[in-house]
């Protein structure tokens, strides 16, 4: 069953078009990364999926209309829509009690065991915790909810690299079980390359590229070309070219690897590099 199904999803704020007819199909059990520049429409798309904002077009999340059936949907969906939205006046123990009191699928013991691995004290108020700790607390609450869809909008913004690493390790090891679906947006693209099963680029309210990570690895290849072979490599029509330490790195879409390998060193590109390439090409089209 599809977790998310959208056709012609559209949303405008005055003259600004945030979503320009997006078609989306996300199967259950996937971890989808949505990558895009600021103002590309990522958050708007997520807010539409979470029933936080009205939209035009067709959208079904877990078979339900997120705007009109939001209260029902929230039993099966959890999200971190932004960092630092935990209510600051609450104590950690009160936050646990509250979520346990209102969420039918909250496993308090699991949240406690996740919190036990951090330095967060039950008696602390949220405002007394560091930014990283607030995120850990929020994540512990969210991961203890047996949801079918988890949406993470910039969950690691402002966290240092250790927290970010922990965050994704914890997400994969303690939470993801292949029946759940996770959607994540982040600017630290390369950190989640190994986490994702699917990736999607979005720009100016449109999806400009989407593919599974297996396809990504077989389809895109980066060639660090030896200087004498540069002209030969360019003949294969790279989608992007950049220079690092005086050497040219060419990015190919669906190129013949057997022929390219003679011209230099091949490797799988980072999502960020492909993103730059796709966005550059996208910008040149206009």
């Amino acid at each position: 069953m599809a977790c998310i199904e959208a056709h012609g999803l559209r949303k405008a704020f005055g003259d600004t078009i945030a979503l320009d007819g997006v078609d989306l199909h996300v199967e259950e059990g996937r971890i989808l990364g949505i990558i895009g520049p600021n103002g590309a429409g990522k958050s708007t798309a997520l807010h539409a999926i979470l029933g936080l904002t009205p939209y035009q077009g067709e959208l079904k999340v877990l078979g339900r209309d997120p705007w009109s059936q939001r209260d029902d949907l929230m039993r099966d969906v959890s999200f971190i829509a932004d960092v630092a939205v935990m209510p600051r006046g609450m104590r950690v123990s009160q936050a646990l009690e509250y979520v346990a009191g209102v969420h039918p699928r909250f496993d308090r013991a699991k949240a406690e065991s996740l919190l036990a691995k951090t330095n967060i004290k039950h008696t602390s108020k949220v405002r007394e915790l560091s930014k990283g700790m607030v995120t850990q607390l929020h994540l512990a609450l969210v991961m203890a909810i047996d949801a079918k869809l988890l949406v993470l909008d910039e969950p690691t913004l402002g966290l240092d690299i250790l927290y970010r690493k922990q965050f994704y390790d914890s997400l994969l090891n303690d939470y993801f079980d292949r029946s759940r679906t996770i959607i994540v947006t982040t600017h630290q693209v390369d950190e989640i390359q190994d986490v994702l099963t699917d990736v999607m680029f979005i720009n100016q309210g449109r999806i400009v590229m989407e593919c599974g990570m297996e396809e990504f690895e077989s389809r895109y290849v980066e060639l660090m070309v030896r200087p004498e072979n540069l002209a030969a490599a360019r003949a294969y029509k790279p989608m992007h070219e950049r220079h690092v330490f005086g050497r040219s790195i060419l990015l190919f879409d669906k190129a013949n690897r057997d022929e390219l390998v003679a011209l230099g060193d091949l490797r799988t590109p980072g999502i960020a590099d492909l993103f730059v390439a796709v966005m550059g090409r996208n910008g040149a089209d206009q």
């Binding site: 932004d82 209102v102 496993d107 996740l114 047996d146 079980d177």
Partner: protein, 305 residues
């Protein structure tokens, strides 16, 4: 914290579905987040108690003076601390309720916590009704209990002070009908909550709507109408209307004691029939219901500011 054994397991947690009480927990979390709801009335009660602790010293003297001048005024002297305590705590509760309502739906957008609340399966209706229940149910009941306790302590203080003169002690209990006071107080608390419901619900509406300056948005439209009608039509009736919305419950729900008439037993002065047949009460409640409905609907669209 870190010494606890790791209990994590990668397996799927068993399907759990525990019973939930969204309304109950929504109200509890309001109390956690807004401690002024109970702290401010308690502070007022303590200050009042301390004041009457001092003034109870002069109680025998004042009772003697009243008996000498006009025995009919004795109940006034005796009842004054109890009525004053009730009045001060109720005024505090009103102020707390006003500022709570003005801030609550604005605050959750300003500190972005609305995104956290909306991530949980608690409907906008439950959230808004829980917030409305604070000034309409929680504060009145809490104030009532607090007033009773404070009055009981004053009664004990008075009794101890008068132990030396049995005649005065007898006069105290003759003039102070504590049970009647308590029943009349419960009645008054309910009356006030119903009468002020449109005020609180209007403030909730503004709190959920305004992007800044909630107090100005809540008050200015009424002041503007009042000033305009006064200048243009020379009529102060709109200001009378506003004053009536704040204090008009008293004349409707109680027989006002006029000078020269014999003193009434407290329970005999309640006029629930008159109160319930006042159109302003029902118009106000309809206005309150509309405000709440709009507030619930509006919260669907609200985002952090």
């Amino acid at each position: 914290m870190t010494t606890e054994p790791p209990v994590d397991s990668p397996e799927v947690a068993p399907q759990i579905s525990s019973p939930t009480r969204p309304m109950y927990w929504s109200i509890r979390r309001e109390l956690w987040e807004n401690r002024s709801i109970y702290a401010a009335p308690v502070v007022t009660a303590c200050i009042t108690l301390f004041g009457f602790l001092v003034s109870t010293i002069t109680l025998p003297h004042r009772m003697r003076a009243a008996i000498a001048a006009d025995p009919g005024k004795l109940h006034g002297v005796v009842e004054m601390p109890y009525d004053m305590t009730a009045g001060l705590i109720l005024v505090t509760a009103f102020l707390v309720g006003v500022f709570y309502c003005l801030d609550t739906l604005y605050g959750e957008r300003r500190d972005r916590s609305i995104l956290f609340w909306k991530s949980l399966p608690v409907s906008d209706r439950t959230t808004v009704l829980a917030k409305a229940a604070i000034p309409l149910v929680v504060l009145p009941l809490f104030s009532y209990a607090l007033i009773l306790i404070t009055q009981l302590i004053i009664l004990i203080m008075n009794t101890i002070m008068l132990l030396g003169s049995p005649a005065h002690l007898a006069a105290l209990y003759q003039n102070l009908k504590f049970f009647q006071l308590s029943v009349a107080l419960l009645y008054a608390v309910i009356v006030i909550a119903l009468w002020h419901a449109p005020v609180y619900c209007w403030l909730l509406l503004v709190s959920g709507w305004a992007k800044r300056a909630t107090f100005l948005w809540a008050v200015m439209p009424f002041l503007a109408i009042g000033v305009f009608t006064k200048i243009a039509l020379g009529s102060a009736s709109f200001f009378t209307f506003l004053a009536n919305r704040l204090g008009g419950w008293f004349n409707k729900a109680f027989l006002v004691h006029e000078k020269g008439t014999p003193h009434l037993e407290r329970l005999a002065s309640l006029t629930p029939g008159t109160f319930l047949s006042t159109p302003a009460l029902w118009l106000g409640l309809i206005f309150a219901a509309i405000c709440l409905a709009v507030t619930v609907r509006m919260r669907r669209y609200r985002e952090p500011i």
